[in-house]
């Protein structure tokens, strides 16, 4: 990894410089010729004028500043940053997939449609749900679809009063946001000291206004919700439905199925569990799975098999559908990557994912405890992720979770999630994932132990970290309040005009 900051490409710009051999030979008529004069710009856009080699070097150097799973240990809890096998990418990029037009007739795309149908079926099998729709374009849209279906279900029964979504306080922040977005009112229920949902509080919170509950299991506290059946019974008996946030599916893959736990709807973050691109804002995919009673409300289109042929189901087949969430059928390229990944793993491989993910997390937990760290839930086994709290170190040494996170960067490791879940003070939420070796885990424990020793001897070395990164400790407050991401030309730089 490079440690030198790269300047903006505009600052390499020299008027008149370019890469002419990269330009189109015959640009044809200008696209703007068809636009009314009022809609055309009067000046030329201010673009960097650089040579091909300068451009290549600039972007290569930028890419060398990346901290990524391909280069570094990346234990970002709650977000499952695992390695995506390159085969998933290369197979999804086969020219026959890439060149397929979304409006091509079903008859000419049977191979592609078969892949999508099988993906639907595999997601059904692995989640234990009765039906799956692939079209939501991201986890957030999957959540939206899920709660929209819960609302549509109650409305279809003429039960118009149910507008409350219950969210345990350990839930993902997106859950209350989704419920609010869908016009529901959020009711929070606490979790007890062992990390389980407070059943008595849940019983008091449910009633004739309960539309449903949103939770993830294992929870964001890194522990399995042990009384999930009682939670499901309580909510169902009150007339509400259960929503499963697929964020933590990696922990239970091939072992336990949300459908068997009593959930009515799930969204699956393909980027967390099934090897699709993660971070950078997409493209994403968040398929939804449902129990039988929600199946009529699934977003369209769905894939169906009729004999040996594959084809789409639309509004005509599902008149109660919540509708369409995207053009065509979602992010085909992303879905293909998940399909390849699942086919490579097979049924046995699925179970191995969660076995190694939980083994790695519990190994880390045990080793970190031996190294002198406090587990947030010392009596519980970790799921695929674990929480250590640095409350004691913050008090005794004046070194916080954020300081540990920053110092880890100097050790060549991406920081774990910090200060989430909010319930645990000074916490690090650590998720090693199944793809890390014992050597990588040991190196992480060694780095943490070294920082702990340093915090006792030379705390300012930790509180002023990082020391080896291209940028040092950033001013988070100013970045949040005065965000400025736009390069502005120096005052002397005249913007050329065409007129």
């Amino acid at each position: 990894m490079s440690t030198r900051l790269e300047k903006p490409i505009f600052e390499y710009s020299v008027p008149g410089r370019g890469a002419e051999d990269q330009w189109p030979r015959d640009p044809g008529p200008a696209a703007s010729d068809d636009l009314p004069a009022a809609s055309r710009r009067s000046g030329r856009p201010l673009l960097p004028e650089v040579s091909e080699l300068e451009t290549v070097r600039h972007f290569t150097r930028l890419s060398q500043l990346n901290f990524s799973i391909d280069t570094h240990f990346y234990p970002l809890g709650s977000c499952t940053m695992k390695y995506n096998p390159k085969a998933c990418n290369s197979l999804a990029m086969l020219p026959e997939f890439l060149a397929r037009h979304p409006l091509a007739p079903e008859s000419s795309g049977q191979g592609f449609l078969a892949c999508m149908y099988e993906l639907q079926e595999m997601l059904k099998a692995v989640t234990g749900m009765q039906a799956v729709a692939l079209s939501p374009m991201a986890g957030a849209q999957g959540e939206f679809a899920g709660v929209a279906m819960i609302r549509a279900y109650h409305r279809a029964r003429g039960d118009l009063e149910r507008n409350e979504i219950i969210v345990p306080e350990a839930a993902h922040g997106t859950n209350p946001a989704t419920a609010t977005m869908c016009g529901c009112v959020v009711r929070e229920v606490p979790v007890n000291a062992a990390g389980d949902v407070d059943l008595e509080a849940l019983k008091a919170a449910v009633g004739p206004k309960t539309a449903g509950i949103m939770l993830t299991n294992p929870s964001t506290l890194g522990v399995f919700e042990r009384r999930i059946e009682a939670v499901a019974r309580t909510v169902h008996e009150a007339g509400g439905l259960l929503y499963y946030d697929g964020a933590n599916l990696n922990a239970i893959l091939g072992k336990v199925r949300p459908g068997d736990m009593g959930f009515d709807v799930i969204h699956v973050n393909l980027h967390k569990t099934f090897s699709t691109p993660h971070g950078g804002g997409g493209p994403g995919a968040g398929p939804v799975g449902v129990s039988a009673r929600l199946a009529p409300f699934l977003p369209v289109p769905l894939l169906a098999r009729r004999g040996e042929r594959y084809g789409w189901l639309t509004e005509r087949d599902l008149p109660q559908s919540i509708g369409r969430l995207s053009g065509f059928m979602g992010n085909a390229g992303v879905l293909l990557r998940a399909y390849v990944y699942m086919r490579m793993l097979g049924r046995e491989g699925m179970a191995k994912v969660s076995e190694y993910a939980t083994l790695n997390a519990n190994y880390l937990l045990a080793q970190l405890k031996r190294a002198g760290f406090d587990a947030a839930y010392p009596d519980r086994r970790a799921s695929h992720e674990l929480i250590v709290t640095l409350k004691r170190q913050a008090k005794e040494l004046g070194v916080t979770a954020m300081d540990f996170a920053k110092r880890l960067l100097d050790h060549g490791m991406h920081a774990p999630t910090t200060y989430f879940p909010l319930l645990v003070p000074e916490c690090l939420l650590i998720e090693p994932t199944e793809t890390e070796s014992k050597a990588a885990l040991d190196a992480f424990v060694a780095a943490m132990a070294e920082i702990l020793a340093e915090a006792a001897k030379e705390p300012e070395r930790v509180t002023s970290a990082p020391h080896t990164m291209p940028v040092r400790r950033l001013d988070d407050v100013r970045a949040a309040k005065q965000l400025d991401l736009t390069w502005k030309p120096p005052a002397a730089h005249a913007i050329p005009t065409t007129s």
């Binding site: 922040g173 200060y419 989430f420 003070p425 988070d476 407050v477 309040k481």
Partner: protein, 131 residues
């Protein structure tokens, strides 16, 4: 060590209450709460005239670590939200019990009573939480 003025009342959810001479009640978050949140970057205060139930979220405080709801300790009608916090949310960090107040409200039928903590009880609570 957190600052806990003895003339205020407190809640388990880290709000403070001060009864003003005109009978309205001023509400904010405690010094302990601002310390746990870290540097605040955004605060949303309620509009004047909004009617609140006891326990209802009335404000959002967002720091570099987290965004949190603040709950109204009593029922009543908002007479003012602190206008200064939009441009200076850091007033809560520097002066939680003064310039950092969040809202003033006129108590509803239930009055300004309720199960609140004294300064000594609140100090005990945050000591138990490891503050």
């Amino acid at each position: 060590m957190s600052n806990v003025p003895s003339d205020l009342k407190y809640t388990k959810t880290h709000e403070w209450l001060r009864t003003l001479p005109d009978g309205t009640v001023e509400v904010g978050i405690t010094d302990h709460a601002q310390h746990a949140l870290g540097d605040l970057v955004f605060v949303e205060v309620p509009e004047t005239g909004r009617k609140l139930a006891a326990g209802e979220p009335f404000a959002v405080v967002e720091s570099v670590k987290a965004a949190s709801d603040v709950y109204s300790p009593i029922a009543g009608e908002v007479t003012a939200g602190n206008p200064g916090l939009a441009s200076q949310p850091e007033a809560i960090n520097s002066d939680a019990y003064g310039k950092g107040w969040l809202m003033r409200l006129r108590p509803g039928a239930g009055g300004a009573g309720g199960e609140f903590l004294t300064a000594a009880q609140y100090e005990k609570l945050i000591a138990e939480e490891g503050g």
